[in-house]
């Protein structure tokens, strides 16, 4: 698999997310992207699977390795950059999107990635996340959602189900959880997707589409924490339940799921949202066809609400939304380029003219 070319992207004439990043002529391997640092996650952690998938995916991008930057915040997942042999910064809690905004705005020739978790992105860094999405800075945000605080040893997180018994909530948590996809859609994210740590093929396909998208690509990755929240995603991982649990979203395809496609989505005329029906109960062609490119995010939002907020028995997986919108960084650089063109001459001479502006007088 290779990165889609501009022609293959859904929006003709729009640059891909990595179009201005120098490419590598030689084939690359996952090993080249593996740093010499020992990986120190707990045995069985879902982070390993994501790391492997990313190390396997990056060579396919075909970019120059030195033009890739991974930025993270704080938390288990935020150790990610240390294990990749690219440029990277393991920053401070919640702030990775703001740091990445600086990097991506400063340099058009870099492929910028943020690795974050549910606590990092949605609790302490919630503000930066929504503003990155709003601005549509060209970067890809991978949110590892394990629905728990791991590094601080097991407190409930902003995606934990209400009533969760943890060290800090012995009588059950009182907070209503965020649905990360709904939040990203509410912030008008231009690329919003969800995937699963254990499904490498789907994960890689989403990473590929996310990298190709120009703007902020938001990818929620369901990731199991075997120590503090083991089994949180069992329903969508177990072979005997996952057909009913995963609602696959494929652009242009009718949305159906369940054993032998027994269930599907239709519009709910009463609420204006969507609802699940038995496919046998509706006429052929009545199922909702997924349109990720719909400029109006309402349907994508309605679909995102099908995710259980309590224990996860059901969740749509795939690319919810992928629309074209000008990016902050492209426009910021364009303003600078326009201003530069309008002001020819040596910077030193122009600086002299600038500071000599206004009312001056000369003493001889």
């Amino acid at each position: 698999m290779t990165t889609p070319t501009t022609a293959e992207l859904p929006f003709p004439g729009v640059r891909s997310g990595v179009e201005l990043v120098p490419t590598n002529s030689e084939p690359q391997t996952g090993k080249e992207y593996t740093s010499d640092q020992e990986v120190r996650w707990c045995p069985g952690c879902g982070d390993y699977a994501v790391l492997k998938a990313v190390q396997g995916f990056l060579p396919q991008l075909g970019l120059r390795r030195e033009n890739i930057v991974f930025v993270s915040g704080i938390g288990c997942s935020s150790r990610f950059p240390y294990y990749l042999d690219t440029y990277g910064m393991h920053s401070i809690h919640g702030r990775a999107p703001s740091i990445a905004t600086g990097i991506a705005t400063a340099r058009e020739d870099l492929s910028v990635w943020v690795v974050t978790g549910d606590g990092d992105a949605l609790s302490i860094g919630g503000n930066h996340l929504i503003h990155a999405l709003r601005r549509n800075v060209n970067m890809t945000i991978l949110l590892f959602n394990n629905r728990i605080y791991g590094l601080t040893k097991g407190q409930y997180s902003p995606t934990s189900e209400t009533g969760k018994i943890t060290k800090s909530t012995p009588m059950g948590s009182l907070d209503h959880p965020f649905n990360p996809v709904s939040l990203a859609l509410g912030a008008e994210g231009s690329f919003v997707a969800r995937t699963i740590d254990s499904d490498r093929k789907h994960l890689t396909s989403v990473l590929s589409a996310a990298a190709a998208h120009r703007g902020t690509s938001f990818v929620e990755i369901y990731q199991n924490c075997p120590i503090f929240n083991d089994g949180a995603f069992d329903a969508i991982k177990n072979n005997d339940t996952k057909a009913d649990a995963i609602i696959p979203l494929v652009h242009g395809e009718p949305i159906h799921f369940g054993v032998e496609g027994s269930k599907g989505l239709i519009r709910d005329a009463q609420t204006g949202g969507v609802k699940i029906v038995a496919t046998s109960d509706v006429a052929e062609g009545a199922l909702l066809v997924h349109d990720a490119h719909n400029p109006d995010p309402s349907t994508a939002f309605a679909i995102s609400r099908l995710t259980d907020s309590g224990y996860l028995n059901q969740s749509p997986i795939g690319i919810f939304r992928q629309v074209e919108r000008p990016t902050y960084d492209d426009q910021a650089r364009a303003q600078i380029a326009t201003s530069r063109e309008a002001a020819p001459g040596e910077p030193g001479d122009r600086l002299t003219a600038l500071i000599n502006g206004g009312d001056t007088w000369t003493v001889v």
């Binding site: 030195e66 990277g88 920053s91 600086l351 007088w361």
Partner: protein, 650 residues
């Protein structure tokens, strides 16, 4: 009629009115006229935090003080010689600052029952002029219907009465411009440009301005015109400049002299926002400005930009520094260049947003977790903000460190004539990006089977420059130098995460040593001790330079000896500071805080620094400070000190 012309060596005028009366603009225009005329000058704008405080009330009073002279002056002056009061509240709020005999030009138009009551006057003080109970008896009062005359002058433009009356500030400016023989061309040009899109308003303002001038010339109310000759200044081209503008230009200059694009990540906050506004105009110099979602994102984006090879800058005031502290610590740990500009205001918390203070020094010095040394640079005057910004950039880039630049509200909004520097005289700053591997993994050799093996090299992000202790700055896009940095402690040299106790101790000491070594790059301190016989040293930092200098001049003029040293570098201190402090019997430290520099000097040099501390949101007054210096001189020299008989001049 012919008017008498009287020579003066200096005048302090305060324009005061309601927040919406345009007093800042009036003061600014008078200042520009005086600057172009060639006077030395210092200004002190003073306005409420509210954009439109309740009209006509005491809290709503906005004022602008300008001190201009035919000689070198250092402060905006302690007490105004002339007050222009546009309403009862402006009169009442400023009366206490006036010395006996001061002139008051008062617009009588708003002296109505309602406005008098709002200002807290039971009766109109203008009704009792010359009476036994005249509260203005000590002053020389000129009650004039400035508003009425303005409305009359601009009636041909058909403006509403309200719009016509709004030109009253220009009428007042015209009158004062006549009185002090100011050149008027720049104000006419300014008004023409400012109101280009609204010809009626433009013409009304210009007409009011000229009418004010003509009124002065023809009225019999004023029989004297004053002349303040240009001040002798060293040869060069000058302009009037505020601290925020000079600081902005300094940042642009730092970009030009380092060849690095400037990246400002900032969140609006008084009194720093004007730097964001100004820099956003200079995209043609490659300056990127990001108005972030909050203070933390502002510094975060700046750190990201620095990692990517730009010069990251963040601008704020004290409350913003508090929010940015953790990120500044990250910049200390990752050893990336970063400029953190704190335009200090009254604190703590929201404090006094539009007033000045110097109470963030210890926050700049110590306001982070862990041992997190950050160099500190402080400009001493509005114009000096330019050079201080370039100096802060030099330190940040050369030593790969965040640098704090401590301006304050007085410097930010105050102005002075600034000798425009030659760009070529500014230091060239070499970013010195790393481009090649710097560490040998395996030397070249011969393998057991006799084949030659090539040298194997890699990149160590914490392998330091021996002289500066700076680490290499390898920016993304540089092949072969891929590396990871972050907030966790790193091993010296290789830069991998290290929890090793001895390594942490070494890194803490090395980061401190790197900052300490900046002192080796600083010029010797300038000691102002004209007689060489002073036993008292007055030492300060930042915007107290003017008041301290003026205070010292008063003491010297009265025949006594005092030395002055002013610190531009607060961390590290210059190498010669300890030896200089030891030379004097007494050390006085005037500050607009409760003794923060005093604490640092005492801690580092075991010197008995004596504080002179004022925290009222206003600059220290030279006369009051002179008394404090005088008292210390008396103590140190065992003499009587009397400053009063001499004609004090600043």
């Amino acid at each position: 009629m012919s008017k008498q012309v009287k020579q003066l060596d200096r005048v302090i005028i305060r324009f005061a009115g309601d927040s919406g009366d345009g007093m800042q603009l009036t003061g600014d225009r008078f200042t520009q006229e005086s600057a172009v005329f060639g006077n030395d000058l210092v200004t002190l704008p003073n306005f409420p935090a509210e954009i439109r405080a309740p009209q006509g009330t005491l809290p709503g009073v906005s004022s602008f003080q300008v001190h201009f002279a035919d000689h070198d002056i250092l402060t905006a002056g302690d007490a105004p010689d002339v007050l222009v009061a546009m309403n009862p509240a402006a009169l009442k709020a400023n009366l206490g600052d006036l010395p006996k005999g001061a002139q008051i030009i008062v617009d009588t138009h708003d002296f109505t029952g309602r406005n008098l009551a709002k200002a807290g006057y039971d009766a109109n003080p203008l009704d009792f002029l010359g009476d036994a109970n005249d509260v203005l008896g000590e002053f020389n009062v000129f009650p004039l219907d400035l508003t009425g005359m303005t409305v009359e002058a601009v009636k041909e433009f058909g403006l509403s009465r309200k719009d016509a009356a709004r030109a009253k500030n220009m009428f007042a400016l015209g009158l004062l411009s006549w009185m002090y023989g100011r050149p008027t061309e720049s104000t006419v040009a300014f008004l023409t440009k400012r109101f280009a899109k609204v010809p009626d308003i433009r013409d009304a303002n210009i007409t009011a301005f000229k009418a004010g001038w003509n009124f002065g010339e023809t009225t019999e109310t004023f029989v004297v015109q004053y002349e303040i000759k240009p001040a002798p200044m060293s040869a060069g081209t000058y302009r009037n400049i505020t601290g925020n503008l000079a600081l902005s230009y300094g940042l642009v200059a730092a970009g030009v002299r380092s060849g690095l694009p400037i990246f400002l990540g900032s969140y609006p906050i008084t009194p720093a926002s004007d730097i964001l506004h100004e820099l956003s105009k200079h995209k043609s110099f490659g300056v990127t400005t990001l108005q972030a979602e909050d203070e933390i994102a502002g510094v975060g984006a700046a750190i990201g930009a620095s990692f990517a090879g730009h010069l990251g800058v963040t601008t704020t005031s004290g409350p913003g520094i508090a929010l940015k502290s953790e990120a500044i610590g990250l910049a200390v740990m990752t050893e990336l260049p970063l400029l953190v500009i704190d335009v200090q205001r009254g604190g703590p918390s929201t404090g006094l947003p539009t007033k000045t203070e110097q109470a963030d020094l210890l926050q700049a010095m110590f306001g982070r977790n862990g041992e997190a040394p950050v160099p500190i640079v402080a400009p001493q005057s509005p114009g000096d903000c330019f050079g201080a910004a370039v100096e802060a950039a030099r330190i940040a880039i050369t030593y790969r460190t965040p640098v704090m630049l401590l301006s304050d509200g007085y410097l930010a909004n105050g102005s002075e004539p600034w000798q425009i520097p030659d760009i070529d005289d500014l230091p060239l700053i070499d970013p010195n990006f790393a481009t090649a591997t710097n560490h040998v993994v395996t030397p070249a050799g011969t393998a057991d089977d006799g084949t030659e093996t090539a040298e194997e090299r890699d990149f160590w992000p914490y392998l330091r420059d021996e002289e500066t202790l700076a680490r290499p700055w390898a920016i993304p896009g540089t092949p072969g130098l891929e590396h990871r940095i972050g907030g966790l402690e790193k091993g010296e040299g290789h830069g991998n995460i290290s929890y090793d106790p001895a390594n942490h101790d070494l890194m803490v000491r090395t980061r401190q040593a790197k900052v300490d070594r900046i002192a080796d790059s600083l010029p010797p301190l300038e000691i102002d001790d004209p007689s060489g016989r002073a036993k008292v040293l007055v030492i300060g930092w930042g915007s107290t330079y003017g008041p301290i200098g003026a205070g010292c001049r008063r003491v010297r003029k009265a025949g006594y000896h005092v030395a002055q040293v002013h610190l531009r570098h607060l961390n590290p201190f210059p190498n010669d500071l300890g030896e200089i402090l030891a030379r004097y019997d007494k050390v006085l430290v005037p500050e607009m805080n409760l003794g923060q520099l005093s604490l640092l000097l005492r801690g580092k040099y075991l010197v008995d620094a004596i504080g002179y501390n004022q925290v009222n949101g206003m600059p220290i007054k030279a006369a009051v400070l002179a008394d404090a210096i005088g008292a210390l001189v008396a103590d140190a020299e065992g003499i009587e000190v009397d400053l009063t008989p001499q004609e004090a001049s600043q």
